[in-house]
């Protein structure tokens, strides 16, 4: 029955999908737009390189940080980027396990996004070091000093968590990519593409036994990735919650951070989904139904994050702890209240439009709301960091924080660091999972037959 709730239009054929998707890298359809985007992204990346040169030559003092606000943009952007990354893994892994078929059109670029977002996040812990050239001291190797890393430190946990996350994301992404690379290899006509896809597909043949082993590896890895995501951002929250600083020292932090991460991540997935489908004419694969589902997920995670906000207030009031209450008051009415109210405004007000189906199914509306959420979550990270640090316990150490040019340039630069590889990736690898879409199409058609 054609009015059944299929997420993919069943008119299309597998051959059509294969040709359409492998065609994006093989016969790139949007050369001009890509070049413009790439030029913009490269400019941002160049800005990052300049900022890093300045940073490494002169020191972290080029940023606006001080004592007491000795963590600011670097750490807050780190948390923001990492949070964005989490949506990719959640979409691929969690939804794979729960059998949510709509993920199939989204998971590949969501995973790609994860990968590069984690890279962006990953450089911050190195950049923010006073002496980044000694970052290797954080790894346990038999040093002539005889000194080891300190495993009670949340930062030490952090480096393991992020590296694990990066590795597992990479492995998971690549594993899922192998069959599609093989498909691209088989469609490629130019020698260069043939060699590229020939090597990267590792000689995948799609044999029954290959698929069997592959499925097991892929699904179990997915099963591992879900708790990994939760652990990584919980751990990131411990970076703060392990300190006694008012506004940080709270047990709500791990779930609060994980949900916030998913929230911001889904927003960025929505941004990319809307952009890619209009860019490459993929409305047949990324349908309005997809946007509808994304909108619902965004709304759900947004409301959960909102719960975190409410609970944070409750937590402070319930504790009755004078310093916690003062920090709470300062967040809503202090010098940096604009970050708090900005976060509330950008995160939750436009979000409410998603209660309407029409809004969810409109690309533009979803795009704008998602951008608002990304901004809102950025402000939230800033708020959590700065408002806790700039006024902690002793009044005599209170200070303020003003970002400098280099704070902003480093942050904008990482957007370039994200976009450049992402743009390269959409040129050379299939951005939507070919075989999974085919599988879904097959299942839908089959159901159509039986239905």
């Amino acid at each position: 029955m054609s009015d059944r709730n299929d997420i993919l239009p069943t008119r299309q054929t597998m051959a059509g999908i294969a040709d359409q998707l492998t065609g994006i890298p093989l016969h790139f359809p949007a050369e001009r737009r890509w070049v413009i985007a790439m030029a913009f992204a490269s400019a941002l990346l160049l800005l990052l390189m300049i900022s890093m040169t300045e940073l490494f030559t002169r020191g972290v003092g080029i940023w606006g940080i001080n004592i007491p606000v000795n963590w600011a943009f670097a750490i807050h952007n780190y948390v923001w980027w990492l949070g964005i990354g989490h949506a990719g893994t959640l979409i691929s892994a969690l939804l794979l396990l729960t059998g949510s078929e709509w993920r199939n059109s989204l998971n590949r670029f969501a995973e790609t996004m994860t990968l590069f977002a984690v890279v962006c996040a990953g450089i911050y812990p190195i950049l923010h070091l006073g002496r980044p050239w000694y970052v290797y001291w954080m790894f346990p190797y038999p040093a002539t000093m005889g000194v080891w890393p300190q495993f009670r430190s949340p930062l030490e946990w952090d480096i393991w968590a992020v590296l694990t996350y990066l590795t597992v994301s990479l492995v998971f992404w690549y594993t899922g990519l192998i069959p599609d690379l093989a498909a691209a290899r088989d469609r490629a006509t130019k020698r260069g593409w043939q060699i590229f896809f020939g090597i990267t597909s590792l000689g995948w043949r799609g044999a029954a036994i290959h698929w069997l082993r592959w499925s097991q590896a892929y699904r179990v890895t997915a099963a591992l990735a879900v708790p990994l995501v939760v652990s990584v951002h919980s751990e990131v929250s411990l970076l703060f919650a392990s300190g006694q600083i008012p506004g940080w020292h709270s047990t709500i932090f791990p779930p609060y951070f994980v949900l916030g991460a998913a929230f911001s991540g889904f927003a960025v997935v929505a941004i990319i989904a809307v952009a890619l489908r209009s860019w490459f004419g993929l409305r047949n694969l990324v349908t309005d139904d997809h946007l509808d589902v994304l909108g619902k997920v965004l709304l759900a995670t947004g409301l959960m994050t909102g719960y975190g906000y409410v609970f944070e207030v409750f937590d402070a009031l319930y504790s009755g702890e004078a310093h916690e209450m003062r920090t709470l008051l300062d967040r809503v009415a202090g010098v940096y209240a604009w970050t708090y109210w900005g976060a509330v405004l950008f995160n939750f007000v436009p979000l409410q439009a998603l209660w309407w189906r029409g809004v969810r199914r409109s690309g533009w509306a979803l795009l704008l709301i998602s951008i608002s959420v990304a901004v809102g979550m950025w402000l939230e990270r800033d708020m959590i960091l700065v408002t806790s640090l700039y006024r902690d316990f002793l009044v005599s150490s209170w200070s303020k924080f003003t970002p400098t040019f280099w704070d902003w340039s480093t942050y904008l630069g990482t957007i370039g660091l994200f976009l450049v590889p992402f743009l390269i990736a959409i040129r050379i690898i299939p951005m939507i999972s070919i075989f999974e879409t085919k599988e879904l199409l097959h299942e839908e058609k089959e159901k159509g037959h039986h239905g």
């Binding site: 606006g64 001080n66 000795n70 002496r131 430190s153 006694q244 009044v395 005599s396």
Partner: protein, 966 residues
């Protein structure tokens, strides 16, 4: 403490020269020498030996600067002595007793030297005045020695000349002076206590009887002397015995504030304040126009405009029944305060003291003198000596200028003072100097005066000189050099000797001559004893004095507001403007650094309206000056305070162009208080402030107790989830008595000197990156118009369950078995987690490379026992672990346990009021353990469960009950 009995020169500077300085490592490559030549042209003119010393010194300081990671260790040069001095132990500091000179007076010090370069000055514990205590000026004097902008050779009209040229020129001048008996020759000096210098002046005046000496003392001297003369009818020095006082009443006299008497007064006040354990030992009443350290410590503080002081003085006199006192109109608050003060004084006859500050003028000074006399304090808590500083009978600067204008002067010799800068603008001393035919400037720097004079004679620093001087009580110190001069300079006595006609005077000849006469036959033993002790026994003799009953002149009345002039608490009259340590030291009550401010009352600010940092124009008569405003809580509504010492143009790279020059508007005849007006003008600036918030916000960071409320000591171990770590033999801890802390910053300055704390500059301070390991938090309680002020030194708490340590991913900060929170700079990678987690925010981070540039002579001021930190590493208070470890080694070599008091931290050592006590808390008999059992003991942020080793004693609240020892 090891101290050498033999004269310095005999030990370390053998006659051949060349090997006194056993610097083991130096960079001797030609590139380095070329660089030194380029950077220090004067060094090229050094004698070969002097030059070698200089290079060695520089090489040594370079060796300190490294902080490397895993780099391959290079082979470097090692230079042994050619002829090793018998008792030189390489690497062990040698300590010499000497003195620095501050406004002419000796500040007796023990100088710690490594390989012939002084790195740290501390008070001489045996000296009757300081008893080992110090102030910020003494602590920072060593950096003045290494000032890169010091005059490095004599110059004539800016061109370097040799001392031979100088001597030749003096010879020519002397011929002229001899002819006319010195007619038209004038000497301009600051206050002088040096017996040798006074003797040389006398000799000079004998040679040239028509020459005249003029005195220029911008922060005291004649200006204050005239008040005393008015009060007692003759010039006198007043000496307060605060240690014997039950009640102290001050009328805008900043007894505990910065200045010559700070150490003595603070020590005396703290002694009487803490002579009993269960209540405050004295009561302090302060009426003040501008908040001061004394006001902050006063249990009874009255805010009154500066021009009210004479009225208050009269009222107090009347309340105490001093005959002849008239009654002025008083407000309710004033009447109440006078009543309480009079009541307290009345019950403490002979044990009280009334002090009038300079702003009260002659009227207040006379009243105070009469009250003290009536109460029987004179001779008890107030003692008199003949003036200690000379030259006696010197004329004033104003007279010199009018003489110049009258064409009566052809030669001026300016000795170690800076009239072109520190003189009331209306006198135009600079213009006058330029009209003189021959002018000589003798000074450490080619400053504002130096550039105007034809000759600038580079003066040796006190630490490089043989000299002598008297402390505030008259006790003389023979100043011995602790380093050979590394510039082409001469001591003040050598230059005076040249003026007296000597060709090549030895640096110690004049001083020896003076003391030869004084010591007589016992010269050689007494000389050695004096050098060893650091002073010559014998203070000035007390004399009797009766207050005059002269009529009182009315204070000036024109103008809208009272304008009070104060020396700056850190750069003083401007002479320390180029000392980075002092520039970066927060001014005690404002925490402003690197600038002076126009302090106004909150009330006045509201009326204008104006905010801190906005510019105001202050006008007195026809002259005006523009500076940034500071709204000072607790300042009297109609009083404006201007701070001297800033707005310099020729101080050097550190001090030039900072703040405004208050001398410009200072009236010559009213140096302390004038009437004027102020108005807001365009412009605003961000002041480099180290503390932005000052209210306690309802928290009890600083606690107060009433004498009756002192609970029985409760020594409960703070609970912890973690098992206790085994502690070693010693468990270090610190107690800071907030009732004793007067916020003077001596501890901060001492810490800076001891621990190589870098100076970061005004711009870095503005963004909150000052590096002091110890900050004096200043809090206000109450309304902004009438707050109570509190000081709280906050060093590292050395928490037993330290949150910071847990945050470090690389084991760069860990805990020692002795309870120290250790920071290993060379392991730090700069994640700054420790600082984020620190509830006390006492950690400091090297956001940039804050090390002094390699070519700066200030490198030589570094303590070689403490690593110089590079960019990107965290640092913080270590409880002076280098001193602990050194004491351990000493004790371990004797296989004996450490004794209480064997380890003294730099802050503790400097504190004039002994507010900081450090020691072994495991030893029940130690001072620190005793204080931890005191009823006033409390833990800062105890609720966090960090179990700090640094704890506090609460401040006494003055409920009127505590007064002295009954």
């Amino acid at each position: 403490m090891k101290r050498d009995a033999r004269p310095y020169r005999d030990q370390v500077a053998p006659r051949q020269g060349g090997q006194w300085s056993g610097v083991e490592e130096l960079s001797d490559d030609p590139a380095f020498q070329a660089f030194v030549d380029a950077e220090y042209p004067a060094a090229q003119q050094f004698s070969p030996t002097a030059r070698r010393e200089f290079l060695k010194l520089m090489g040594a300081s370079f060796a300190l600067a490294g902080l490397a990671g895993c780099e391959k260790s290079p082979f470097v040069a090692a230079l042994p002595y050619v002829d090793q001095p018998d008792d030189a132990t390489i690497g062990i500091p040698r300590i010499y007793a000497t003195a620095t000179v501050f406004d002419g007076y000796a500040q007796p010090v023990l100088a710690t030297t490594y390989s012939g370069r002084p790195t740290k000055l501390d008070g001489n514990p045996d000296h009757p005045v300081t008893q080992g205590r110090s102030d910020v000026f003494m602590q920072s004097a060593v950096l003045g020695l290494y000032d890169p902008d010091r005059a490095q050779a004599p110059t004539r009209r800016g061109e370097p000349v040799s001392w031979k040229d100088v001597v030749a020129a003096i010879g020519v001048l002397r011929e002229g002076w001899t002819k006319d008996g010195g007619e038209g020759l004038r000497l301009l000096v600051g206050p002088i206590t040096s017996p040798t210098l006074l003797r040389q002046f006398d000799a000079l005046l004998k040679q040239f009887p028509k020459a005249r000496v003029h005195l220029h003392a911008p922060t005291g001297g004649s200006a204050q002397q005239s008040l005393v003369t008015a009060a007692y009818g003759k010039p006198l020095d007043l000496h307060y015995a605060l240690e014997q006082c039950d009640v102290i009443v001050s009328l805008d006299g900043d007894l505990l504030g910065p200045g010559l008497d700070q150490v003595r007064n603070a020590r005396g006040w703290a002694t009487s304040r803490h002579r009993v354990a269960d209540r405050p030992g004295n009561r302090l009443f302060m009426a003040e126009s501008v908040p001061s350290a004394t006001g902050a410590m006063a249990g009874n503080r009255l805010i009154a405009d500066a021009s009210r002081m004479p009225v208050l003085a009269e009222a107090l006199a009347k309340a105490l029944g001093v005959s002849g006192a008239a009654a002025g109109e008083l407000t309710d608050r004033e009447r109440d305060w006078i009543g309480r003060a009079a009541d307290a004084c009345g019950r403490a006859r002979g044990k009280s003291l009334v002090v009038a500050g300079a702003v009260g003028g002659e009227a207040a000074a006379i009243c105070a003198a009469q009250i003290n006399d009536a109460l029987g304090n004179a001779g008890q808590t107030l003692k008199f000596t003949d003036p200690i500083a000379g030259p006696a009978g010197a004329a004033t600067l104003a007279e010199l200028i009018s003489d110049i204008d009258a064409g009566k002067v052809h030669s001026v010799i300016v000795i170690d003072c800076n009239p072109a800068y520190s003189v009331p603008g209306e006198l135009n001393a600079a213009g006058a100097l330029q009209r003189v035919r021959t002018s000589l400037h003798v000074g450490l720097q080619r400053d504002e005066t130096g550039v105007l004079c034809e000759w600038q004679l580079a003066l040796a620093h006190a630490l490089e000189s043989w000299s002598d001087a008297r402390a505030v009580d008259g006790t003389a110190t023979i100043i011995q050099p602790v380093i050979a001069p590394f510039y082409d300079v001469r001591t003040i006595h050598q230059i005076l000797a040249m003026l007296l006609g000597e060709i090549n005077p030895a640096s110690d000849a004049a001083v020896r001559e003076t003391w030869q006469a004084a010591f007589g036959d016992a010269f050689s033993t007494r000389w050695k004893q004096a050098l060893h002790d650091g002073f010559v026994q014998g203070a000035a003799a007390f004399v009797d004095a009766r207050p005059s009953s002269a009529a009182v002149t009315a204070p000036p009345t024109q103008g809208a507001v009272d304008i009070v002039f104060r020396p700056d608490p850190t750069v003083w009259d401007g002479q320390f403007a180029n000392v980075g340590w002092l520039q970066e030291l927060p001014k005690p009550l404002t925490t402003v650094t690197w600038s002076n401010v126009v302090a106004i009352a909150p009330d006045l600010a509201k009326r204008i309206p104006i905010a801190s940092g906005d510019h105001v124009e202050v006008r007195i008569g026809k002259r005006s000056v523009t500076g940034p405003v500071w709204i000072m809580p607790g300042q009297a509504g109609n009083t404006v305070a201007l701070y001297l010492g800033y707005g310099r143009t020729r101080a050097g790279r550190v001090g030039d162009g900072r703040g405004y020059d208050a001398y410009q508007v200072r009236p010559a005849d009213q140096p302390w208080l004038a009437k004027g007006s102020l108005r807001k003008v365009d412009g605003t600036e961000t002041l480099a402030v180290t503390q932005l918030h000052h209210r306690m916000e309802g928290f009890d960071f600083v606690r107060e107790v009433n004498p009756g409320d002192v609970a029985k000591p409760t020594l409960s171990e703070q609970a912890s989830f973690y098992p206790n770590w085994a502690s070693s033999e010693n468990a270090w801890g610190m107690v800071i008595d907030l009732d004793a802390c007067i916020g003077c910053n001596a501890c901060v300055a001492a810490c800076t000197a001891e621990n190589n704390v870098p100076v970061v500059g005004a711009d870095q301070v503005k963004v909150g990156r000052e590096m002091h390991w110890l900050r004096i938090a200043r809090y206000y309680d109450g309304s902004i118009e009438e707050p109570r002020s509190f000081f709280q030194p906050v060093p590292c708490m050395h928490c037993e369950d330290a949150p910071c340590e847990m945050g470090c991913p690389v084991h760069a900060t860990t805990h020692s078995p002795e309870g120290l929170n250790q920071m290993v700079y060379n392991r730090c990678i700069g994640t700054r987690t420790c600082s984020s987690y620190c509830p006390y925010k006492v950690r400091r981070f090297n956001f940039f490379d804050y090390r002094a540039p390699a070519e700066s002579p200030t490198q030589a001021a570094h303590n070689p026992e403490v690593t110089v930190r590079s960019r990107g590493v965290m640092e913080k208070c270590t409880y002076c672990v280098q001193r602990i470890e050194a004491a351990h080694v000493t004790a371990d070599k004797d296989s004996r346990p450490l004794r209480d008091g064997e380890v003294v931290t730099a802050c503790q050592q400097a504190c004039p009021t002994k507010a900081i006590v450090f020691g072994d808390i495991k030893d029940p008999n130690s001072e620190v353990a005793r204080l931890k059992r005191d009823g006033r003991h409390y833990v800062l942020l105890e609720e966090l469960g960090t179990r700090p080793r640094t704890t506090y004693l609460a401040r006494w609240r003055d409920d009127g009950s505590g007064s002295g020892q009954e």
